[in-house]
């Protein structure tokens, strides 16, 4: 081992400077695998022929140096050191058939594979970045024309829609939940507008019943509704001063006649 060269008490200034440089260097590595790859280059052989045993020793020596210099090494560097120490012992000792787990040779081969793969990806990355790049070596169109998105909406309907729509309107009343049965009900408004027309001809006292619309006096339901509507309308017209209204006695016929303007 070469540790004696690095005894603290014998360190010269230049050695201290070198140690400082090493601190910087450690920071420049991206982890133990990166460091291993750098160290492996010192073997100056194809990565496929690399001696993992020699590499392990190089790495351990490096860590040893760092320790001597009291450099803080990140935990993963120390873990790698421990693993490489283990690997080294496996590689040096004859294989023990009772020992479980992969052989030293297998572990070494995998480490070599990892190093080769990392180097390959680095080379690939360099090749990639060396390619012509968009915006640096070749360029896109400078004057672009946006595609105008024109949205046109067409409406459509079928004859069925049309007929259903019409049917819906014409039967709307059937679906109005609280609508009275118009067939058998006459509203005060209907009666009023009807009587306004008729009242002009009513010079004489006439029974209110005679104002019932044709046919409405046959069905008792209709008759009741129309009579009530006519009565209400009569009261309204009397209030307006259009007609006079009289009833001889309780339950007798109610009679109306047009009110002469001069009586007003």
């Amino acid at each position: 081992m070469t540790t004696d060269q690095f005894q603290e008490d014998t360190q010269s200034v230049s050695e201290r400077v070198a140690a400082e440089a090493l601190i910087v260097d450690v920071g420049a590595f991206e982890g133990p695998l990166d460091l291993l790859l750098m160290l492996s280059r010192t073997q100056k052989v194809d990565l496929r022929q690399i001696s993992i045993l020699a590499l392990a020793e190089q790495y351990l020596a490096f860590v040893e140096q760092a320790k001597t210099l009291r450099l803080e090494l990140a935990a993963d560097y120390l873990v790698m050191a421990a693993w490489l120490a283990f690997l080294k012992s496996r590689l040096l000792l004859p294989p023990d058939p009772t020992e479980e787990g992969p052989s030293g040779a297998e572990l070494a081969a995998h480490l070599a594979f990892q190093l080769e793969r990392l180097e390959a990806m680095r080379n690939a990355a360099a090749k990639l970045m060396a390619r012509d790049q968009l915006g640096r070596d070749f360029f896109t169109r400078g004057i672009t024309e946006d595609v105008q998105r024109v949205r046109r909406v067409t409406y459509t309907a079928t004859l069925l829609d049309l007929m259903q729509g019409y049917a819906r309107i014409r039967t709307k009343d059937d679906f109005r939940p609280f609508t009275m049965d118009r067939e058998a009900v006459m509203t005060m408004e209907q009666s009023l507008s009807r009587m306004r027309h008729l009242i002009g001809f009513a010079g004489e006292w006439t029974d209110i019943v005679s104002y019932l619309p044709e046919g409405w006096d046959l069905d008792p339901v209709k008759r009741r509704s129309a009579t009530a509507a006519n009565f209400a309308a009569s009261l309204e017209l009397a209030k307006e001063g259009k007609i006079e209204i009289r009833q001889g006695e309780v339950f007798s016929a109610i009679q109306i006649r047009k009110r002469e303007p001069r009586d007003g």
Partner: protein
């Protein structure tokens, strides 16, 4: 081809090469480029004006043209291909219920005034609804009604008849046909209609209603 060098003061690149340069510069620059600027950007000794003339010729009749804007030049889409720069999406939508009902009333009652439409629908008709039908060319304005206020009337158009495959508006099925086609629901009105009983009575009722509306 070797990268032309600004130092080759006395030998300009061949004209074909200069054309390529003009193409590339005009393609990539965000604004039209003047001859002066081209001269500044191309290697020494180039003749951008001549190169431009060649490029212009080359692109004549192509999908993009070299055009002159003031004293600058730019590639532009050929005018006749402008339609490619529009992406038209046609969306077909169902007419709204209000529009269909309005249309139906116009078709069944034409000529119909706005007031009549509103009376039949029982709600006011928005201006937009009628406008939409007019824009679709399914409804047009007919004669004015000779009544006070001289309201405009609406009638359906030939396009409407074509769309719905009708020869004329009188071909529209009547209420009885609608009912027999199952389009008019025979739901008995609540209450007394059960007393009346027969279907015929209901028909009469409808007719009465029509009469009422016609008044």
């Amino acid at each position: 081809m070797a990268k032309p060098d600004n130092d080759s003061l006395f030998e300009a690149p061949p004209m074909a090469e200069q054309e390529r340069m003009v193409e590339a510069i005009l393609f990539a620059t965000a604004d039209p480029v003047s001859v002066t600027e081209l001269t500044g950007r191309m290697p020494h000794g180039c003749d951008p004006a001549e190169a431009l003339a060649h490029v212009r010729k080359r692109y004549a009749g192509r999908g993009v043209h070299l055009i002159r804007i003031g004293d600058a030049w730019a590639f532009r889409t050929a005018g006749d291909l402008g339609f490619l720069m529009q992406k038209e999406t046609v969306e077909t939508r169902k007419l709204s219920r209000a529009a269909i009902e309005t249309l139906a009333i116009v078709a069944y009652h034409q000529p119909a005034t706005r007031a009549e439409i509103e009376e039949i629908r029982g709600v006011s008709v928005s201006r937009g609804t009628v406008d939409q039908l007019i824009e679709m060319e399914w409804v047009r304005i007919g004669r004015r009604r000779m009544t006070p206020g001289r309201p405009v009337t609406f009638v359906v158009t030939q396009e409407f008849l074509d769309h719905f495959g009708l020869e004329n508006a009188r071909d529209l099925p009547g209420l009885k046909e609608l009912r027999s086609a199952g389009l008019l629901e025979n739901r008995p009105p609540p209450g007394a209609s059960q007393l009346a009983g027969a279907d015929d009575d209901e028909d009469d009722d409808d007719d009465d209603q029509v009469e009422m509306f016609e008044e």
